[in-house]
Symmetry: C2
Subunit: 367 residues, 2 copies
Amino acid sequence: MNSVTRIPRPHPASMPPRTETRDRAAVTPTDRSHPAPRRVRMEEVARVAGVSPATVSRALKSPETVSERLRARVQEAAARLGYAPNRIAGSLAGARTPLVGVIVPSLTNSFFAATLDRMTTILEAEGYQLLIGQHAYDAAREERIATAFCSWNPSALVITGRDHTRGTVGLLSAAPCPVVEMWDHDDRPLDTGIGFSNREAGRLAGRYFAEQGFDKVAYVGAILGQDARARARSQGFAEQVRHLAGQDPLIADAKSRELGEGAAALRQILQRQPDTRAIAFSGDMLAVGAMFEAARMGLRIPQDLAILGYGDLDIAAHTNPPLSTIRPPHDEIGAAVARHILHRLAVPEAQSENVDLGVRLIRRLSA
Amino acid sequence: MNSVTRIPRPHPASMPPRTETRDRAAVTPTDRSHPAPRRVRMEEVARVAGVSPATVSRALKSPETVSERLRARVQEAAARLGYAPNRIAGSLAGARTPLVGVIVPSLTNSFFAATLDRMTTILEAEGYQLLIGQHAYDAAREERIATAFCSWNPSALVITGRDHTRGTVGLLSAAPCPVVEMWDHDDRPLDTGIGFSNREAGRLAGRYFAEQGFDKVAYVGAILGQDARARARSQGFAEQVRHLAGQDPLIADAKSRELGEGAAALRQILQRQPDTRAIAFSGDMLAVGAMFEAARMGLRIPQDLAILGYGDLDIAAHTNPPLSTIRPPHDEIGAAVARHILHRLAVPEAQSENVDLGVRLIRRLSA
DNA sequence: CTGTTAGCGCCTTCAT
DNA sequence: ATGAAGGCGCTAACAG
């Protein structure tokens, strides 16, 4: 059913070979057909407005330093010619680049998507563009991306977590711009850190189960080998259960964060520990998958089995019964990171900081 | 519970003011303390390796054009000094920028996230970086982002949909790089188009309901006023129902794409048309919300009411009963766009194309 | 195969 | 308040 239509109409497709347009004066016979689709530069605006390029630069970037008359003339000329400054050139000359590099493990993870959403919205409004890279929990790839980003001279660098290769650490420590490590709070940051303690999120779950008097409990993590944050949560949970209930919880490690794995984990846990009274999950989707499976098995929630999620996705409020869950500050992180960066850039003496945004237990009916 | 710790330790925070480092020879007394943390440049690599800067450039970018001996010397020197090329400078000189601008309506929409995921992965591997912008279905914001992206001289520009302001159209038509309009196939693209027909996706749903012999049917769209793609689907659905069943379907317009709205829409539809036999939703989450609500109301699915989703999210396969849905080619779009761009950039005579990736009906048990 | 040379387009002192 | 001039760091013709 797929169809492909070739479109033969000529289009200014790939960049014209350098030589064709290099010398604006000497147009060779061959490219007469192509009416030099060269982008308009500041020099032409200057010519049209009857001023010098320097004045154009000033009129556009700091209008208050230019007389009102010239400013108007320049702006009109720029508008008429459809002038758009070349930011590559501007960045080279200005030593500052309105670029912020952000590295996340995954773009499809809705937590990081929410963070990026807030960051772009806030930073775009101030004229910054985001360079976004994803490393899929691969530390070497993270280092490659960080290296690549550094070579763009960004105004700031944002990276997820505080656990990096030596190379990445060296790079970030030497970076001549603010560096923000977000989403974690368990270790000391290289520069600024904005996040929360995953360990504490896990502890919160363990403490809640203990308070409810659940004796046999379990925890379902996901790809614990890769995801240090998920690991920290499971450790916090185990620690607290051990401490308050005096026993080791059963810990399962799902192969992914998806629903199907939650269902599988539920079956596995009930097989290994039939009298399990409550299960905490490393992600709401796992929890929802387990709830669907529980429904199929005829288990009542929370009477037979209590279920606690993590994430507070939209769906959590709408399941049957509504899912109790732990809410990380996903969008707050994005907003706080963006604001911190703007502050650091605006106020040279601004200091780095280490912010714990905390987590909240959202109590609904499933646990 | 939130806490903020100020970290007083000195850090190379904001870019040093230009003047401090402008003249490398004349270091003023004030900044003696700061041991000129200037990034190493190609010139220094050249000096250390005992060659000219041009040779360093060649040894690093096209090693095959340099003698093995020098290549080794240069690479060693670069590694030892921790040299990272300045891409801003490289881009200015080279007239090509390894940047691809991508504009999507929303980063948190899992469809676009999947597309972006594939695009970054493929393009990053070839040395390109993605500039990502989101406009939240605001055409003026889309135009601002497009303008900003053009001023980075990107190697390619990718935009969602084929419905833009005149300004955006002008900009994209004049762009000296390949332009891809993705996710739609209903209109003619400006350059290359890669997507599918939303109208056809809607028709498919309508046709399926007609084939099943459902007489009273309804459609639940979401923010139809903003989302042209959702609108096209609802129109295709209505068109087909009218054509095959000879009647107008009930159309509801949800205020968002979230679960809660699906539940609300279900109640509203059953009130306005109590004998509704089947409902198609503009998004799986709406459909899942409606299924949860149906369960609360004691309605059996599909016996009392058939439900069809759109999106084929992970969750669709795991609901009770599993959700039948229409699957758009979200990740295929990302892969196809990335490959098209690489092809266009590699083969100067490559043409633009108009690709319909099609949709599929995934039949499970809910309809 | 290698070095020399001349910019890429803009910003920013400096002088007027 | 405005213009002239130099340079940001690198690439790409060209000559050797």
